[in-house]
């Protein structure tokens, strides 16, 4: 696919669809769209369009196809894996203007929203009635549902309630030729006929089409939520506490862990009164009916103590509870207090292996001469090692990236995954071939090709290619037409 058109020439036809104000071609304005939350990679798009309706999205897609332009969809640009990184000369279709909550149907416990709706805004809209939207990525006050759908985003409370894919009932999708298809449920009815396409589109990282409406499930707020805060001498004891709690059959709504370095950063950046002289802390929510929460919280405390907790606190009121969670959710941003730059990874390990894996990560960090802070979803084994570095020091950024890669390999060695919720994107495409075989990736590519045979949507993501991964691709996935001899790759 080539993008031969000059940026100037792209303006008029797209502006005819979305309007002058919503067509961006000036180099200074395009800079905003050069990257997402993975700021180390930047590519200038050919044009950025901000459509307001499904019809406008479809028209933009048809136009892009007629001009043979790659299409990169974008939500709020908070992604951490480079999923919205533009492809040279592409059209970025930004969904930020499509931010309407179209319908709320509390009896059927659904909401129909546009992709640009901010995650937390759903809960803000229905919270007063006693309902909420469960998936809660730490960026939930700024990230969009469309982006969550692309990445199958998780969050602290996904431990009990599942990820975005478990809360999306239906989707409206614009395909590569501008056709609009409806996937899954429309009215909240279960068991839509045929393949679970909505289940496949969620987490497909913008490579199957552009989602323009989402029917989400909303949940009734539980009778009670009890938060527990426990400190430990080191991550060994904290990891052991997690294993004990999960092993005992307790399903908390969330269990989050912070190590000493993460605590230091969070305390410096927020007003939490967490102790600095501990090795790790766990922040945990237990929710459900009142009687259930009381009993479960008590059992959990027994396990925390048995694992060697130094101190266990329960917030005295809702404000204190919110503050603790605010501290946790501000963790990534807080890293600025202790390091000029950081590089976050998102590997997953079996949850009983937390302690040994954290020890290996610490050893790798020491060997690389870099500090690694850990703040993560301990309950489901989803690590977030934050490799701290200073980009002004020559070689440190590259060393941080290398260390990040080594950490992912440790996760794979323990039988885990390179990403639990941030997505593969651009960042981890070259590691996917270490998690999956050539045949596995070829099968996934068949799924993609069923939606987008020309591979126009978000090219150069997820799948390792020689161009992305240099001389050692290992797992280049040919197009079905190539394997059949119908086409050759130039």
């Amino acid at each position: 696919m080539t993008a031969a058109a000059e940026p100037g020439a792209l303006r008029a036809p797209f502006a005819a669809i979305v309007g002058e104000r919503n067509t961006i071609t000036s180099p200074s304005e395009l800079r905003t769209y050069e990257c997402d939350g993975l700021t180390g990679f930047r590519v200038r798009p050919g044009v950025v369009v901000l459509p307001a309706t499904t019809e406008e999205v479809a028209a933009c897609v048809r136009l892009a196809r007629s001009l043979d332009l790659p299409i990169v969809p974008r939500g709020a640009g908070t992604g951490l894996s480079g999923g919205s990184l533009p492809t040279e000369g592409c059209v970025v279709i930004g969904l930020a203007r499509m931010r309407a909550i179209l319908a709320v149907d509390l009896p059927n416990r659904t909401a129909r929203v546009q992709p640009g709706v901010i995650n937390l805004d759903i809960t803000r809209a229905i919270g007063p009635g006693g309902y909420y939207y469960a998936p809660d990525p730490s960026s939930q006050s700024v990230c969009t549902i469309g982006g969550n759908v692309a990445e199958n985003s998780g969050g602290a409370h996904c431990l009990k309630y599942g990820f975005t894919v478990n809360h999306v009932l239906g989707l409206t999708l614009v395909l590569d030729d501008g056709a609009v298809v409806e996937l899954g449920s429309h009215f909240g009815e279960p068991d839509a006929l045929g393949y679970d396409l909505a289940g496949v589109v969620v987490g497909s990282e913008g490579m199957t089409g552009i989602v323009t409406e989402i029917l989400v499930r909303v949940l009734r707020t539980p009778q009670r939520t009890q938060t527990l805060f426990a400190t430990f001498p080191s991550t060994d004891e904290a990891g052991d506490a997690v294993s004990r709690i999960i092993g005992a059959g307790i399903v908390p709504a969330a269990i989050e862990m912070c190590d000493q370095l993460a605590i230091e950063a969070i305390v410096a950046a927020t007003h939490v009164d967490w102790p600095l002289d501990v090795g790790a802390l766990l922040l945990m929510d237990v929710d459900g009916t009142a009687a259930d929460v009381e009993e479960t919280a008590e059992r959990a405390q027994t396990h925390l103590r048995a694992a060697g907790a130094i101190e266990i606190r329960t917030p005295k009121d809702e404000a204190e509870r919110q503050l603790a969670w605010k501290g946790r959710k501000a963790a990534f941003a807080a890293m600025g207090r202790i390091s000029p730059n950081y590089y976050v990874q998102d590997g997953v390990i079996p949850r009983k292996q937390i302690a040994p894996v954290l020890r290996e990560i610490a050893a790798l960090g020491a060997a690389a001469g870099l500090r690694v802070a850990n703040v993560f979803h301990a309950g489901d084994g989803n690590l977030h090692p934050l490799v701290l570095y200073d980009a002004r020091i020559p070689g440190q950024e590259a060393a941080a990236e290398r260390l990040g890669g080594e950490i992912l390999r440790v996760c794979l060695r323990y039988g885990g995954s390179v990403t639990g919720e941030h997505g593969v994107g651009h960042d981890k495409a070259c590691y996917l071939g270490e998690q999956f075989s050539v045949d596995d990736l070829a099968t996934m590519m068949r799924i993609r090709d069923a939606f987008d045979p020309e591979r126009r949507f978000n090219p150069d993501k997820v799948f390792p290619t020689p161009r992305l991964c240099g001389d050692k691709p290992g797992t280049y996935v040919p197009h079905a037409t190539e394997t059949s001899g119908a086409a050759a790759r130039g």
């Binding site: 149907d105 009896p107 059927n108 416990r109 199958n152 599942g162 990820f163 894919v165 478990n166 395909l175 056709a179 298809v181 409806e182 996937l183 009215f187 909240g188 009815e189 279960p190 068991d191 839509a192 006929l193 045929g194 393949y195 679970d196 396409l197 289940g199 987490g203 497909s204 009734r220 294993s243 999960i246 092993g247 059959g249 459900g288 009916t289 009142a290 009687a291 259930d292 009993e295 997953v348 079996p350 949850r351 009983k352 979803h377 084994g381 039988g415 885990g416 995954s417 639990g420 919720e421 593969v424 596995d440 070829a442 099968t443 996934m444 068949r446 799924i447 069923a450 997820v462 079905a480």
Partner: protein, 396 residues
């Protein structure tokens, strides 16, 4: 065990039973290369699901593929071969105080692979969801014989396209499910069932059943299941199941009893689900229709049904989930019934068990709205159309 010889009434010319996963792949590769059509059969409990295959040379039975590959109770995950029965899995999980809350009426015969391929579910989906919410990894054999994997062994994982979700409910049309990794759950300490309108002369109209369901949600009770069975007079009896610690279950039962009593019907709480076996037996044989409707629409669904069914028709509904199972009596005009439901865009009607004399009925109904992508997927996985052809929606 009876040897299955036919799928939806179509007999195969051969039945093969691979001894291991390598042989499964080898058989599929060989038949595909030869242009011979094939389909997979687990416990054979749902052979009447779907339309008749348009071709069927070989039935591949998964009965011998019943090994446990990896079970780590501390991680609450288990990886098994497709042919293991749900009952065998239950027994192993129970030893560790765990369970797989995937309901199926025939656990001694039904296999894990079959349960996922057919996306079976039952009353516990209210709390635990369906196979989609439990599957975290899969290894398949593509129709061309190529083994491939998706997902993984950890409970949280977004690496690569979601092949596991795609296989759920795909009815063997995209290849064989060879192994699956499932998230399993702690078994509750206790269970109790609150029944309403259990007396023979008692009953709740559908609107009241829906109102009760709404009240359970309003009061933030957390039943693991709610179901209502229709009596010959058109009214319903209702059962609400709670699970968890003794004290938590008791508290919820008291609250639920009070809610039911407000409707002026009989209420009692028991340790076992009353009439469960009887209900299951009524729905075991063909014809069986599964109807889907928005979870809060039981009353609207009932309004639609009342003029179309009679007192001999068995009907069990799951308010709050939006599923009902129907066994129409011989007197019912099933064609009219299916048409009436399929006209409603917010409802679906699938004939889960088709009697041999229901000629010209499509098991699935109207083609799905995204049929175009489904066709492309089928072609992408099975370009020669040899893998369970014709059995799935819209002839896929």
């Amino acid at each position: 065990m009876n040897e299955p010889v036919a799928i939806a009434g179509v007999a195969a010319t051969e039945i093969v039973t691979p001894r291991d996963l390598a042989e499964l792949a080898e058989i599929v590769r060989d038949r595909y290369a030869r242009g011979s059509s094939f389909a997979f059969v687990g416990g054979g409990t749902q052979l009447d699901l779907g339309n008749a295959p348009s071709q069927l040379d070989t039935i591949v039975r998964t009965a011998a593929l019943d090994r446990v590959i990896d079970y780590t109770p501390e991680d609450q995950t288990i990886t098994v071969e497709c042919g293991i029965t749900l009952a065998a899995l239950d027994r192993m999980l129970a030893e560790n105080g765990q369970m797989l809350p995937l309901d199926s009426g025939a656990r001694e015969r039904a296999t894990v692979g079959g349960a996922i391929a057919t996306n079976v579910s039952g009353r516990h989906r209210r709390r635990y969801g369906t196979a989609k919410d439990m599957i975290v990894g899969v290894a398949i054999v593509r129709p061309d014989g190529t083994p491939s994997r998706g997902g993984g062994k950890v409970v949280k994982n977004v690496a690569g396209f979601d092949l596991p979700k795609l296989m759920v409910g795909s009815l063997g049309t995209l290849g064989a499910i060879a192994t699956v990794t499932l998230r399993v759950y702690p078994a509750p300490q206790g269970t109790a069932f609150v029944s309403g309108a259990y007396e023979d002369d008692d009953g709740l109209v559908a609107r009241d059943v829906a109102a009760l369901d709404a009240a359970l949600v309003r009061d933030r009770l957390e039943p693991v299941a709610v179901w209502a069975t229709r009596r010959p007079d058109g009214r319903y009896r209702v059962t609400v199941e709670f699970a968890g610690s003794r004290v938590a279950v008791d508290a919820q039962c008291r609250a639920c009893e009070a809610l039911i009593a407000e409707f002026g019907v009989s209420v009692r709480t028991a340790d076992a689900a009353e009439g469960e076996d009887e209900t299951r037996a009524r729905f075991a044989a063909a014809p069986r229709i599964r109807i889907g409707f928005p979870p809060a629409s039981l009353a609207q669904f009932d309004d639609l049904m009342q003029p179309l069914i009679d007192g001999e028709t068995a009907l069990g509904a799951y308010p709050g989930v939006g599923v009902a199972y129907l066994r129409p009596s011989p007197a019912v005009d099933y064609r009219r019934l299916l048409e009436a439901v399929r006209k409603r865009e917010e409802m679906t009607a699938v004939v889960e068990a088709m009697p041999p004399d229901w000629h010209g009925i499509d098991a699935w109904g109207n083609p799905p709205r995204a049929l175009r992508v489904m066709r492309a997927l089928k072609t992408s996985f099975d370009p020669r159309g040899l893998c369970s052809p014709g059995r799935y929606v819209a002839g896929l």
